[in-house]
Amino acid sequence: MKRILILIILSLTTVLIYQENRRSKILPLPTEGCLSCHKSVSDPDTSHPISAFGCYSCHMGNPYSLDKERGHLTMVKNPGDLSVVGSTCGQAKCHPDIVPRVKKSIMATNRGIIKTLEYRWEKIENSNKDVEYLMAKENAGGLAIDQYRKMCGGCHLWKKRGDRQGEIGKRGGGCSDCHIIDKDRKEPIDVTKFQHPEITTRIPSENCVKCHNRSARMGLSYFGKFESEGYGTPFDGWELNQRRLSGGRFYLNLPADIHYAKADMTCIDCHTETGVMGDGTRHEYMEGQVDITCRSCHDPLFTSVKEAGEAGDLAVKLAFLNKKIDIPQEAKVGRSKKGKPMYNLQKRGDQIVFYRKKDGAPIELKIFPEKKPHHSMAGHERLSCQSCHSAWIPQCYGCHITYRKDLVQKDWLSGEKTPGQFRESRSYIRFSKPTLGINASGMVAPFSPCQVFVSVFDRKGDYVHEESLNTLTMTSFDPHTTQKGSRTCHDCHGDPKSLGFGEGILYKKEKEWRFRPTYDAQSSGMGIDFPLDAFVDINGKPAQLTSRKGARPFNQEEIGKILDVDGCFPCHVRYEDKIYEDFKQSRRRFETEKDLPCWETARRYTP
């Protein structure tokens, strides 16, 4: 018995020795156990070399182990993920200042979307919800929140990266959402030779567009892409057209923004570090966070790097990280709306140069000619740059949503399928002649529709009229379709669509302005008594809501003033024309002095 036991023990020892000898010897030991398997990993970038940082400092896990499972325990694949970022990118030695800012930024909180939805759908005035709050399943919320969860919740920084195929899988992932250069990588066959995803501060526009291609569609418009009516034409071989967007959508080519078309600028050339990653404040809306205006560049303010103090240091640091743009000590840098440095806008001597962030190429910059008559014109003080210089804006009329409680749909925030399914369709889309109105900051700006017709169906599949809602809003945003030339005078002063009445015929009868609309929303089954494209009626009564407090269509007085000018254009076609210097007086003269040369025509024009 004992002998057998001894024999067993000895044979077990033999097995042990055999096993141990078969284990490959990894000598000498690398600084991190990870590198014993992942022998050759490319550097993510020059600021984070593997030789200095290893793997552990970003990816955590167990760096001392040579055993795969032990080593990978508690490892994070994506250190940028907002749920772990505090102990990875945001750890004390690295970027502790940035991470809290990013978590408060609008791309992480999505507050604007949530707020507007609740405000417009459920009349909740001061919603303070954000993505982090909604990620807990128990914070369910009403119809608006369910819409957010199922239709909107797939685009924010908290979303996990790589949870799906295609574009949607590339979205999210905290820091990595922007700072990783997405290449379609295959899973490495050989773990020892590992191509680490490249990280960068020169963020390619594709990273922005993977999210910013719906709703306002700025990421498309800027590049001259317009989400089309979905015909997929012209056909390409036996296929539909290859000009595709995610979600089975297609696009048309329209004139791109001049900043792209002429200077090949990327998104980050204008959008600053604080504008994108936040400034530490939980802003209500995107426009609170954005840190630039047209004037930031085209009517710039400069401070010298030396005198700018902290801001100057930041400029130097950002330029260092960019690696393509350098800042000479004596250079002056531009200041953003909030006074942050724009290191790529520099004044060297008397010369103002704008440097492209992706390659450091200098770009000639036109300084806003304030004195030119078309800019200094009296009465045009409230015009935003966009109101004249935006060529087009994507306009999606009539968004018809069915909400069926008898079906389930994936909740993007919890990742689970929950009751309530949303499906969207549209009436029609247009790109030309943006409608104008007054935005929340009191400026004349282009508006685009967001017109929701929600039909709610209960668990039995029956239509519930009481829960269904119509919310027709017009929203003002920068279309990102800047052109050098502007819209014509008539385009604003006499075009019913631009003025907010919608397509139709504007005419004067018995000295009163009248309007004959083209779209018949009532007959088209919309259940509203104004055309879909009407922002305001001819009497200045708003037809649609806006998504911001303070934003509104033109009122009657403004409409009257705008239309008054239109009658003069056929003759007085130039900005420099004297009658515009003091239009009130010109108007008075026109009414009183019967011997004016234009009178004969005008008399007949106003029957």
């Binding site: 001259g224 979905g230 997929g232 060529a391 087009w392 039909s455 669509k497 397509e503 018949d520 088209s524």
Partner: protein, 562 residues
Amino acid sequence: MLGNSPKIYPIVCLFFTLIACSGPKPPEAINYKHCAACHKGIESISRNHEFECKICHLQPARQTMPFLEEHESIIRNPSDPRWVSLFCGKCHEKEIKQVQTSLHSTMAGIINQTRYLWGAQDVAFPPIYSANHALKPLPESPLHPESPAELVDDFLRRKCLRCHLHTKGPEAKGLYRATGCAACHMIYNNKGLYEGTDKAIDKHKPSYPMVHRFTKQIPDMQCLHCHNQNHVGADYEGLFEHDYSKTYRSRTTGGAPLPVIYGLDQHHLARDVHAEKGLWCIDCHSRKEIMGDGKLRGYALAVPMIKCKDCHAGFFEPAPNPSLKGITEHDGRFYFHSSYTGKTYPLTLFSKETLSHSVSLHQRVRCSACHAQWSFQDYGLSVIREDYADYIKWRKLTDQGDPYLKDFLDEQLGREKIDPPASPDWLDSRLKKGAWYTGWRFRRWEWMPLGMDQNQKYSILRPKYQYFISYVDATGYVVLDNVVPQRGDDSDLGWTFMPYVPHTTSPVGRSCESCHLNNIAAGIGVFDGSTIDTQLTIPSTPVFPSMTLMSNEAQKRLLLRK
């Protein structure tokens, strides 16, 4: 029954419907000559035609037979082109001959223009081919077409000519109608359901006229059975097709989906002021226009028609044309009396005082160029014929305004084993391999480019069409890949913008600036046509030499450039 079997083409449909109408087959033979035994309560066809049933519905040889065994031998529609001379021709020989020369019958406009544009014939005018035998009958495409010129006949037969007097076309809501004379004179409602008193006819089975009655009181609904889908006629009622993609199938507004009619759901835009007042198509469009005057014409605008000035006067006409039926004068004011609707309308006369009327150059502008509120602007028509089964890509595009195609695609997409595509040739009602799919680039109603009509008057143009032609053969080989055709005389691309009269008349003209200072009106295009998509908005030459685009000087004048 029809809805369930989309692949059975109309003649077969007719055949089966007749069987279905006859009810369950009785054990012993029935003498179908006793029509009234079953068809109790059937309406009289019209006061002028109070004949025995057999006079119109049985071939002369059978009329004398004492016993009729098969219901199938009863001719359902004696006015069908196959039978029309045999039955109607006895009394209406002249009318039938005239109708056979009318554009409704010959389809010469569509056929010759399209063939010319696709390079199959050297000229569009004078017309060479017709859908009937008035001119050369339309040939068939070869089995293996290799060029647009060889494909065009197939395209016409299977896509365009589903609207003509020889076929009932794909039957669906809004599209039910008869053939021949009955196409107009026998009223069908939009659902194709019988509403009369005949007990033998199932009132829930579509494809029947509303009542068994011939009429001259033809309502607009009847005309729209063909004149739909962004063709003139639909605009009179303010209809504009939705886009094809599923994204634009507005699912619900107020709990119910938008009604589908003419194969798609429709936007409702401003109706023509005449429609608003209650005038019918036939109030303006006379018998001669519609049923022909015996002369062969090449296109619609060439047909002598009633003019705006006939009712409303014009630059040189101080008053309406008194010879016109229905116009009366009373106390110096003019009235129009519609014998169809029975209403009398006061006529608003052309006023020289109006600023725009006082501009002398505007004498060269068609009324419709200013008074049209909107127009059909369907840019970039991509067509592809596929003989190869590949349906997945169409899953969001099954609605192409073609009910036959929709049913076919829906069926194939729901199946695991798929059939190769097949679709009917509407001209001879045979099922042929392959199917035509279409798609636009974009469609607008607010843009109105201008050009000159055959009388050198400014007129609104519409693209008709900007073809991109593809053909994939049965092996999946792409024979034609997105080809822009060349005209038959190689003078230009096979794209055209044609002057037309939008039936969207507004009582007030559009603003000056809708033409003047307007790049689109001047033919410069949206955003100067600077991209491959916006260049489609630049007009190309009309098909007929008498019609032209605006000259450079005219453009400059329009844009007030000196």
